[in-house]
């Protein structure tokens, strides 16, 4: 493996002193531009993993290294998206997407003078996810899928090197979800940021990720690492191919043994 962009070295996590471990010794190496997925039973500490990597939560033991620096506090190169879209209801879609630029430097100080340029960038992003024409709508005027697409745009507008997704499509219906897989894949193939996707949807992991990590029940531990060699770009037809089915089936088998343990 080449030089790692994100590296977890013997990381352990417990939320409180004296409490049991939330994450058992975890080692991970993620290359720049790699798309990885973490799957596992609910409550196994998948989301904690994201908090560790983003620096929102310190590791109890071990080190987290991102871009050659040990993570000590919240990183500034992350985009994050969660299951609920957390768009601000008093802002239009466009203003919501622009929010990170009001915080992250150097955009923050340039936003006022180069508003036009940034708005163009946001509109371009909205266009890629088929939301052009909705930029002046408020979140409550959008469907769940549209909100989640806007949410993705917000996570990407500042061109983060690292995109952290915590079950971003979990609340959507199956059709919308699979549509958004394509959207995400397209965005990723165009921009090649590093993605950590936490999900309990094995098909989602198989569809999107280069590498899939299977985690155990709490305390979470990485049990398996799969190289997903299905060719890109992947499309909906491929999900009916035996290779795809086999992969999902194999993952499923592991999860089953994990849950039984």
């Amino acid at each position: 493996m080449t030089h790692a962009f994100v590296e977890l070295d013997r990381v352990r996590l417990r939320y409180q002193e004296g409490e049991g471990l939330a994450l058992e010794q975890t080692d991970m190496k993620i290359a720049k531009g790699e798309f990885i997925a973490v799957v596992g039973p609910s409550g196994c500490g998948k989301s904690s993993l994201l908090k560790l990597v983003s620096g929102l939560m310190p590791a109890s033991e071990g080190t987290v290294i991102v871009d050659d620096h040990e993570v000590a506090g919240p990183l500034k190169i992350c985009g994050m998206a969660f299951q609920n879209s957390t768009l601000l209801p008093w802002r239009t879609t466009l203003a919501n997407v622009l929010l990170p630029l009001e915080i992250v430097q150097p955009h923050r100080s340039q936003l006022r003078s180069q508003r036009k340029k940034y708005e163009e960038r946001a509109k371009h992003l909205l266009e890629t996810v088929n939301l052009l024409g909705f930029e002046n709508k408020y979140p409550w005027e959008l469907s769940g899928g549209m909100q989640q697409r806007a949410n993705l745009c917000r996570a990407l507008i500042h061109e983060p090197d690292l995109l952290l997704l915590d079950e971003p499509f979990g609340a959507l219906d199956a059709f919308t979800r699979e549509e958004l897989w394509d959207t995400l894949q397209k965005l990723w193939m165009e921009n090649r940021f590093t993605v950590i996707l936490v999900t309990h949807d094995l098909r989602e992991a198989a569809y999107l990720a280069d590498t899939i990590y299977v985690m155990s029940n709490r305390p979470g531990r990485i049990l398996m690492r799969y190289e997903n060699t299905l060719p890109r770009p992947r499309n909906q037809d491929m999900t009916f191919q035996p290779e795809f089915g086999d992969l999902v089936h194999e993952l499923k088998g592991h999860i089953r043994t994990v849950r039984a343990a």
Partner: protein
């Protein structure tokens, strides 16, 4: 506009007029003497008869109330922001605030009179003391109930506490804030009139006190009606401001 909507729009007027009618009829029917309960017509007549005096005292009460209210808003926002954004400040000040809010403000008026003498200042301060609490509580609630995911999104961008407060906390607590203003302004009237009643020689409270000592009960009720009307008017103004500035939060109730 359909029938049902029409009824809804006029329902407040119908209800108020209905209440006055019942009141009027009941007083006449049971021959209630005027020094116990005057009819609304007599009370309105008193408003007309004493309108010069009422106007003067009403303006005084209005200014007193607004003075106390403005102080309450400033104080309430500052304290609410502090309490809502810091767990420590919340823990430290919550018992004090609740204790303070539980003290009947009428008991504080004599203290204020001792310090400031009778007149406008104790009335302004009483209005302030009685009305700041809902503002503190609502602003704090609005800030404290920020979704953890949203906080994470912003923090992972490197947002400072101030950033989060300015971009999300304050806009998000605006609806709570405006709700509290409606409550606070009506409470402020209670405070100022209360203080004027016991420790002033101007204002609606004083007017009613003076009227009752001269057994001019219609004028007392005239005063009550005027205070109620001022309260409704201020409440209405703040409702409109609320709806204008936080459309996103009330979208369900007036759309379609």
């Amino acid at each position: 506009m359909n029938r049902k909507k029409l009824v809804t729009v006029y329902s407040p007027w119908i209800a108020s007029i209905g209440l006055f009618l019942i009141w009027e009829l009941a007083v006449r029917l049971f021959h209630v003497p005027e020094y116990i309960l005057p009819t609304p017509s007599a009370s309105f007549a008193a408003i007309w008869q004493f309108h010069d005096a009422i106007w003067m005292h009403a303006v005084q009460t209005m200014l007193t109330t607004l003075g106390g209210f403005v102080i309450a808003v400033i104080f309430g926002v500052v304290v609410g922001a502090a309490v809502g954004s810091s767990q420590l400040i919340y823990a430290a000040t919550n018992p004090v605030l609740i204790g303070f809010n539980s003290v009947p403000k009428i008991a504080v008026v004599p203290v204020l009179v001792m310090w400031f003498g009778i007149g406008t200042i104790p009335a302004v301060l009483t209005a302030f003391l009685i009305s700041f609490f809902p503002i503190v509580a609502n602003v704090a609630t609005g800030l404290a109930t920020l979704e953890p995911e949203l906080r994470d999104v912003l923090r992972s961008l490197g947002a400072s506490r101030i950033d989060i407060l300015m971009k999300v906390g304050f806009p998000r607590s605006l609806p709570y804030f405006f709700t509290s203003l409606k409550i606070a302004i009506t409470l402020a009237f209670v405070g100022s009139v209360m203080s004027e009643t016991v420790a002033s020689n101007v204002g609606m409270g004083y007017l009613m006190m003076a009227a009752s000592s001269r057994f001019n009960i219609p004028l007392v009720f005239a005063g009550l009606l005027v205070i109620a009307a001022m309260g409704i008017a201020m409440y209405g103004i703040f409702s409109v401001i609320e709806r204008r500035s936080t459309r996103w939060a009330v979208r369900g109730s007036h759309s379609g």
